[in-house]
Amino acid sequence: MLLINCPYCEATLPELEFAYAGEAHIDRPADPSALSDEEWRDFLFIRTNARGPHFERWRHIHGCGRFFNAVRDTVSDRFLMTYKAGEARPVLNALEAAE
């Protein structure tokens, strides 16, 4: 089982308490009706499908209930870091160097 650090609880807890919530840092378009069908499709469905570090959302649903973001390596399943919702996307090079 994965152990995930919740940045709100400040505790490393079992994956079963969490729910995955898709890729992170995808902004909803400010003016959806100005988008073409293709752009709207891309917003809804097209994801990076990263091999390696992936920015993704998680929710501590059976705990504090908060959404937060994580960087997880999709190859090793290792969490590089977790951070609170609303915080800036971390710089990958620094994270990888620290690993």
């Binding site: 709100y8 609880c9 308490e17 649903i61 059976h62 705990g63 504090c64």
Partner: protein
């Protein structure tokens, strides 16, 4: 013929259903927390899992802006009135959820073992006097640790038969020395 020896435990833990209490879900933005705490006459702890109490009222911090409040039945109306009086100045959400949950008390020599058998979280890592919203099998529960082997668990009522069935099974296992 070989004889096997087991350490039988006649009563691994005591399971009690506690009488009804007033239950509230409180949400308020962190910037307004102190003002609301003063208005309600309660301490609203800031660390998730931290508890406070005033008289018969108990508070558990569930999230950065969320608390569970348990009160004596007789004090319910006073809390609602205090919230309503403060509402115009301090926007918040104070929702009574008294009928939503039933509290089980688990105490006795193997209470911790019983919970450890079901909860994925390391229950022994919860210090005495703190609590957590966590997972009991598939049910979200509020767990209050009152002593090393003394727990209260607030269970949503529709999950109660499921939770009790699991605890019954664990009782049988512990009694047979498994």
């Amino acid at each position: 013929m070989t004889t096997q020896r087991h350490d039988f435990n006649a009563q691994p833990f005591l399971l009690e259903e506690l009488p009804p209490v007033g239950r509230f879900s409180l949400r308020v933005r962190p910037g307004q927390r102190e003002a609301l705490a003063a208005a309600l006459g309660l301490e609203l702890p800031t660390a998730i899992g931290q508890r406070s109490s005033a008289g018969q009222t108990e508070v558990l911090c569930l999230g950065p802006d969320e608390w569970a409040i348990l009160t004596a039945e007789a004090e319910r109306d006073a809390l609602v009135a205090a919230g309503a009086a403060a509402y115009a100045q301090i926007p918040h959400s104070l929702v009574e959820v008294s009928d939503r949950e039933i509290t089980l008390r688990l105490s006795g020599a193997q209470a911790l073992t019983a919970l450890t058998a079901v909860c994925p979280r390391d229950i022994d890592a919860i210090p005495v006097g703190r609590g957590a919203r966590t997972l009991f099998d598939s049910a979200t529960v509020l767990l209050w640790r009152d002593g090393p082997q003394d727990f209260r668990m607030d269970v949503w009522r529709s999950f109660l038969p499921h939770v009790r069935a699991i605890l019954d099974k664990i009782t049988v296992e512990l009694k047979s020395g498994l």
